[in-house]
């Protein structure tokens, strides 16, 4: 189980302190899917980066299965069981997709496994496995390879920062199926940051972050009734549903 206790993050800009995240507490139980949503600039991606150790928290504790990760480096947290997909993944000129997936897995994967991983995110393996992760790939292709890299290894919890951004509808459907599969297996916990209605609807629990604070957090059934209308990218159908239309 992931436990986050009183997490705060402050930065100094132009000589003055600015609070980005204040006193955020939540947990993600084993096999659970938590979706964090909320308006842009509210602090959702900051939470993800604090969990992975990319940013250093000003205050608070992060525990995974009771182990305090707060002072651990990025790689130590990864080895403790956190997987992380960047919202805007970097390119690696000269590195093939196959090598990238092998590095992600920490072992040499067979061609069949690489093909499955790429297929799960809607990429035809034979077209991509030997391609370089460079400027010739579109943003959507990069995003799908990024997600495949997280799926290449078993984790206790996988964090996906806006996995839907920049990918087409068909690939998005493939991705949703993949999340459903992980969720149904209950082997890995999922923490997704998303504005996407279909992803939000998959959650066990939903947490809304606004202005660096937890505005609301609860089971999906309750949260969908009270969810602020502007937190989601395509909230229209949910709004209609909640109004009984």
């Amino acid at each position: 189980m992931l436990q986050v206790e009183h997490l705060s993050y402050e930065v100094t800009e132009g000589g003055s302190r600015q609070t980005i995240l204040q006193d955020v507490s939540f947990d993600v139980k084993d096999g659970e899917m938590l979706v964090i949503t909320g308006p842009n600039g509210g602090g959702k991606s900051t939470i993800a980066k604090l969990l992975m150790g990319i940013y250093e928290a000003s205050e608070g504790k992060i525990l995974l299965d009771g182990n305090n990760l707060s002072d651990m480096s990025i790689d130590e947290r990864a080895n403790a069981g956190i997987g992380f997909a960047f919202q805007q993944p970097p390119r690696f000129k000269g590195m093939t997709v196959e090598r990238f997936l092998n590095l992600a897995a920490g072992e040499k994967l067979g061609g069949k496994v690489c093909c499955e991983l790429l297929g799960n995110v809607g990429l035809c393996a034979k077209d991509y496995i030997h391609r370089e992760i460079d400027g010739t790939l579109s943003g959507g292709e990069m995003k799908r390879i990024e997600i495949a890299s997280v799926l290449a290894k078993k984790h206790k919890i996988c964090i996906f920062d806006e996995p839907e951004a920049g990918i087409d509808l068909w690939s998005f459907s493939m991705l949703v199926k993949q999340f459903e599969k992980i969720h149904e297996s209950k082997k890995e916990s999922l923490l997704l940051i998303s504005h996407q209605e279909r992803i939000i609807r998959m959650a066990d629990r939903i947490m809304v972050i606004r202005d660096g604070r937890v505005e609301a957090c609860g089971p999906k059934t309750e949260m969908l009734k009270t969810l602020a209308l502007d937190t989601m990218e395509s909230p229209a159908c949910i709004r209609r549903e909640e109004r009984g239309e």
Partner: protein, 308 residues
Amino acid sequence: MAELDQITSQVLAQIDPEGFKQEGAFNLRYNGYSLCHGDSEHIKIRRKEDKPGIDVYISKETQGEYVHIPVVMSQSGMTDVVYNDFYIEDGAVVTIIAGCGIHNSGCNDSRHDGIHAFHIGKHCNVTYEEKHYGEGNGTGGRILNPVTQIYMDEDSVCTLDTTQIRGVDSTKRKTEVEIGAGSRLYVTEKLMTHGDQDAQSDMEIRLNGEESSAQVISRSVAKENSKQVFHPRAIGNSGCHAHIQCDSIIMDQANVCSIPEIDAHHVDAQIIHEAAIGRINNEQLMKLRTFGMTEEEAEAVIIENFLN
């Protein structure tokens, strides 16, 4: 067959990626003399009479053969100058594996200056691979100053692949190429320096023939207090194409100076250069660390990927 000691075998393993064997056409230069050599049916190696070095005659019947001519120096304080000339007949297809490794366990400088000249005929395809490497726990310097001269006739292809990954304290590399009509040159230069090492690479490519072309890719990593200077120069004397690309990663307190020069003497000469120097990409570093690699491991992967 000559018996090779452990140091020599160890150095050869580093500089000859194909694996040095005393068969076919080969010449092993060891501490300033030819330790062993052999000819093949199509490739003959002859010792020079007037100065140190060899003449390598590659006949037109040569199709896909290899020539191995490594140099190993293990005697501290030695300066070795060698002149190797290659005469490649029209239509030959050959790969030449050169390379020099210095094992210096003493306190005096060991230095090797290899001057290689390639006379390439028409319709040839020549690949020249050269790896430079230094090792040994002595305080004496390991110095390598290679000179490569390539004279290409018409409609030939020459691929020049040079690598210096570690252990060489000082290097001054000089490359001069003359390209005839319809001939193509591909150069890949990979270099990594660390400590107080310094490396300088001067390259002059003269595109003399119509439809000649050259592509130069230089990749380097400079660590700690090391210094690197690159000066590739492409001179277009005819309707030709040339592209020079120099990319460097700079780390710690290193210094990298990249000066690509393009010089057109013909209205149809199309010559392009690109040069970039930058630190290791922090986002790449973060990404690899999310795979569970330490910062050092992630850096090593990025550098290896960049150089390869």
